[in-house]
Amino acid sequence: MSKLLTRRFIDQIKVMFGKEPAKPAEISPAAQKIHFYKKNNRDEIAELKHRRAHEKPSHKWRNRRWATLIFANLLFVFSYWLDIQVLEGALTASRFVGFHMADLNSALQVMLAHKHIITNLLIGTATVLLLWALLGGRTFCSWVCPYHLVAEWAEKIHLYLAKKKLVTDQPIDRRLRSVFWIVFALLAVVTGYTVFEAISPTGILSRALIYGAGLSLLWVVALLVFEVFFSRRAWCRYACPIGLTYGVVGIISPVRIKYKLEGCFHEGDCRKVCLVPHVLDTVIKGRAVEPEVPLGPDCTRCGLCVDACPTGSLSFEVKGLSKLL
């Protein structure tokens, strides 16, 4: 990794905790060359843009992801309903064919509140940590979390209403999520209750699917209403500590989205569909520090940008694997 990419890597970690992405202080000569070339070839870009306007949008990654998300959650449901016992429990903790799994944030809350850790919980936590370290940290959010899916549908309503000028997105300070993470951790330690678990829409929805709906779904509905009429994807963007926990795991993950500067027109379609557009700041004209830049750890690896990009400048990458093959 070049010095510039290392600097950006560290900067992206800060961005995950709430810092606003800034213009890079230094850009590599190779990337500068591409930036400069683009500046002087506007006609070519216009022609490509025109061609792109007629292209059909792809939903390849979205469909794969929705299928995975629904499958994972149905596996929980059917393991209980049909007694096939493949994935027993709920998203907070489960057994996959007998092996313990524990959601990292739930496990952390329990450890902090109870101040005693038993072996099974430790095994479950370590297994899940390893799993998501391999698969990409916040991959959990977009590929497994049931709230993510309903929030995506709510987002569609929000965007439709926004187009009709009936609502506007009200951005909130992203540092709030880090504050919540600390506050809920402290609350668990101080009160001795897993305060966050009582309001976690991920846990509530997962349990509602498996064990039946209850009044606690009202909280999930309230969050969705807030997101539809007030602030786009507010829970996942500004509040959810689970996302930050998995984001931290994602720092070391080899699975990520890679940006290639060369073919990009800087139209910003990817940023419009992204849950966490601050990870895509590198696609803004003149921002990429190298010809190839991996996205930061806050990226949920949802692939919406890969689908949206008309030039294939964004793609999934497994670090080290391409070298190996």
């Binding site: 393991s79 027993e88 907070t92 951005p171 009582a198 606690s216 419009k272």
Partner: protein, 287 residues
């Protein structure tokens, strides 16, 4: 939504001159919205205290549960205990239980724990030690909560290992309404213990040791009601003490003994409405 709207307005940070009045106003609004979301989320989170403050819930917890406070702090709300229970005695609490939302409990009147699983499977299933065979050393055992010996399961009497791996009781059965108790009145009982519509199930050794059946499918005909003693799954937990009433009729008084683990079968099977014998959750044995 345009690209511009997506770029959050710069929050007025220290030492930074606001670009324009409009941007400053946007910044102030963003701060207000941030405070709104903070308040909303924290408010909802801490509202979990309300049911505790009002002490509205005194739930019977599954076998092996830690003391209430420790139970609530250690339960990860996954419901694996729910999944292994052969009679579906364990349910997960809803929103009205505050911090107890998603935490397992037993509504003994609707479906008691009759140990059909033979081995307290729920404890085995628990991934966090909320339900445990052995309490860790640093957690105190309340006086009278410990069982003097491992409870013997009548269904397992002839097995090489007839006991249940339980060290503390869930609660204690009490004859809370002696005036309505059929045995106390010297009355018998005929028919389905809880009526034809009762959904609860139970294991009857004489019917099938391995498969619980609906209580409604097992009618009784008793000259003097002894259902609580008859169906109690634990050896030596309930007995009937016969006495003669003022009218000369033979009557009986259910006596709960120290062996009682508080499973709730007596409460479920009691044919009076409401039940004459009930479980006091988390009650300890007082001699």
């Amino acid at each position: 939504m345009s690209e511009k709207e997506n770029t959050p307005a710069a929050a007025p940070a220290k030492g930074e001159v606001p670009v324009s009045r409009e941007r400053a106003r946007q910044g102030r609004r963003k701060v207000l919205r941030t405070i709104l979301l903070t308040g909303g989320v924290l408010g909802s989170g801490l509202s979990g205290y309300l049911p505790l403050v009002y002490a509205r819930t005194n739930r019977l917890r599954p076998p092996g549960a830690l003391d209430e406070k420790d139970f609530l702090s250690s339960c990860i709300k996954c419901g694996q205990c729910v999944q292994v229970c052969p009679v579906n005695a364990i349910k997960l609490a809803d929103l009205i239980d505050g911090f107890g939302v998603g935490v397992p409990y037993i509504d003994a009147r609707a479906q008691a724990c009759d140990f059909s699983c033979d081995a307290v499977q729920c404890i085995l299933a628990c991934p966090t030690g909320s339900l445990t065979y052995h309490k860790p050393d640093f957690l105190p055992v309340r006086e009278g909560a410990a069982l003097s010996q491992k409870p013997t399961l009548i269904a397992k009497m002839n097995d090489p290992e007839p006991t249940l791996n339980m060290t503390e009781r869930m609660g204690v059965a009490r004859l809370t309404r002696p005036e309505s108790c059929l045995a106390m009145k010297g009355e018998g009982f005929k028919g389905q213990a809880r009526g034809p519509d009762f959904k609860g199930t139970m294991r009857y050794i004489k019917v099938d040791r391995w498969k619980p059946i609906p209580v409604a499918d097992h009618p009784y005909d008793l000259p003097l009601c002894d259902l609580c003693m008859r169906e109690c799954p634990i050896a030596g937990a309930i007995s009937l003490e016969k006495f003669t009433g003022p009218d000369g009729k033979t009557r009986a008084r259910p006596i709960v003994h120290e062996n009682c683990v508080g499973c709730g079968v007596c409460e479920m099977i009691c044919p009076t409405e409401p039940a004459s014998i009930t479980i006091i959750p988390r009650e300890v044995w007082k001699s």
